[in-house]
């Protein structure tokens, strides 16, 4: 991971936890939160292993957002860092 991305991730605008949600509300909540951000701002998302980690990053990419990093928390959850690149 480049220094630039690390620097960016240090400037997280908002954090959400979607581990209590199921498809499609996982993506809906992530998408709705990103829509409230400004372009270039970063969202940190805690999400479950399995369906959420397979689908949420992919759907956000399809929406034009930039997935910066996906970190395995080794407790059945992941932390996803997404930068808003698209309105």
């Amino acid at each position: 991971m480049s220094d630039r991305i690390i620097a960016e991730i240090n400037e997280i605008k908002e954090k959400i936890d979607i581990t209590h949600l199921v498809c499609p509300m996982t993506f809906v909540k992530a998408k709705a939160t990103i829509e409230e951000l400004e372009l270039g701002e970063i969202l940190e998302i805690r999400l479950n292993d399995g369906e959420p980690v397979q689908n949420v990053p992919r759907s956000l990419k399809e929406d034009g957002q930039k997935v910066l990093k996906l970190k395995d928390n080794l407790d059945g959850t992941y932390t996803l860092y997404v930068r808003k690149d698209s309105e």
Partner: protein
Amino acid sequence: MALTDDQLQRYSRHIILKEIGVKGQKRLLNSSVLIIGAGGLGAPVGLYLAAAGIGKIGIADADDVDLSNLQRQVIHSTADIGKAKVSSAKESMLAINPEIEVDTYHDFVSASNILDMIRKYDFIIDGTDNFPAKFLINDACVLAEKPFSHAGIIRFKGQLMTYAPGKSPCYRCVFKTPPPPDAVPTCKQAGVIGAMGGVIGSLQAMEAVKYLTGIGDLLTGYLLTYDALKMEFRKIKLPFDKDCAVCGEHPAILSPIDYEQAVCAI
């Protein structure tokens, strides 16, 4: 204002759509639509627009629910017979979505009330069953610069077109003047297959949602016709009429007109 978790859930299938998203859903929540006629067309339009979360829906109709309406007017139920259609429609819409606002107009639209009625709404639905009302709605929407969806259904056929002020021909560009009273049967005399209101009314609701969210291409400058027996849709290009009496270069109609209505249609 951010949507609540309940709103995110209620409208999730909209929000997931790239073309709608939270922004588009908020637009719908802040929009208003007037449905003129709570009958075969107005019924599905009202149900879908209420479900879609259109923030304010107006519904105008002078009639009461009759047993013979229930074969197609799916917003009313058997228990509603005898109630004002607008009250029955309001109850059904609020039962689907209690977070919207519904205004009722228990009245026929006329030259004297239509401009005041349409002024408060972003988009107008013509769900009426007679030519005088259709020309009245067209002229009022042209004069007030309001977009609207025209539709008509009879027997196994239906048609619709969308008008956007300054951007498309109007209903009168195409149809000029109403036919003489009783020259064309109303659906009371001719009959209409129940699902026709569902097909055409749902397309009207779709046009309203597209207009309000600003997505896609509208049915402006085209008439879409549907023949259920032949299972044929046709999309017919409509020209502007520069001599149109209401939207042409030298309009003769400067205020709404009440045409005589066939007795049986009243």
